[in-house]
Assembly symmetry: C2
Homo-oligomer: 117 residues x 2
Amino acid sequence: MSDHQEACIFCRIAAGDMETAFVVETDRVVAFDDISPQAPIHVQVIPKRHVDSVHELGSGDTALWAEILDVANRVAVKKGVDESGFRLVSNAGPDSGQEVHHLHVHVLGGKKLGPIA
Amino acid sequence: MSDHQEACIFCRIAAGDMETAFVVETDRVVAFDDISPQAPIHVQVIPKRHVDSVHELGSGDTALWAEILDVANRVAVKKGVDESGFRLVSNAGPDSGQEVHHLHVHVLGGKKLGPIA
């Protein structure tokens, strides 16, 4: 594991170092409950490989991006919010509120959600 | 154009019926400014083909989903928020606040954004 990965909390979670219970795990993606949930259902979907944000995904990452969506949709079903509704959010950069600089897609639901911005 | 497409405002925008100025247009995707912006930059990225929401995208839609992300990232650059930061949001179903039942990814930026839920 590189020094960068050592320092990145989401790389450590993806590697299993934190003994995180995964809601869904695939070859390239893991999903886990947010530790400070902002809704009754709040799951993070992340690539195992370090990517800073969605803005860093390029034409070579098509399969990874599709796998992230597939996992997010499976999370919605598994958490029982596929019918009631859910929101996907990914923040990139300073103004967005991105806190961990490892690409993550929030899956939010379980209540009437508030404004998006 | 089917009756369904006639009734869907985003199908009509994508078809050019509303004379919408597109921020970016590709073979399968268009992006346009939201008419009720919730941030200084608020662009909708949508597939030209009707899809109800992200929850309806499946394994056959990998290229479309990648094109939506590519357009969103190009919108961020074109609107000058790729460095300052931006948020991607897609709502699906009742609790999420989804208003138009044609898949759309919001690209938001231009200010410090608020809570995600």
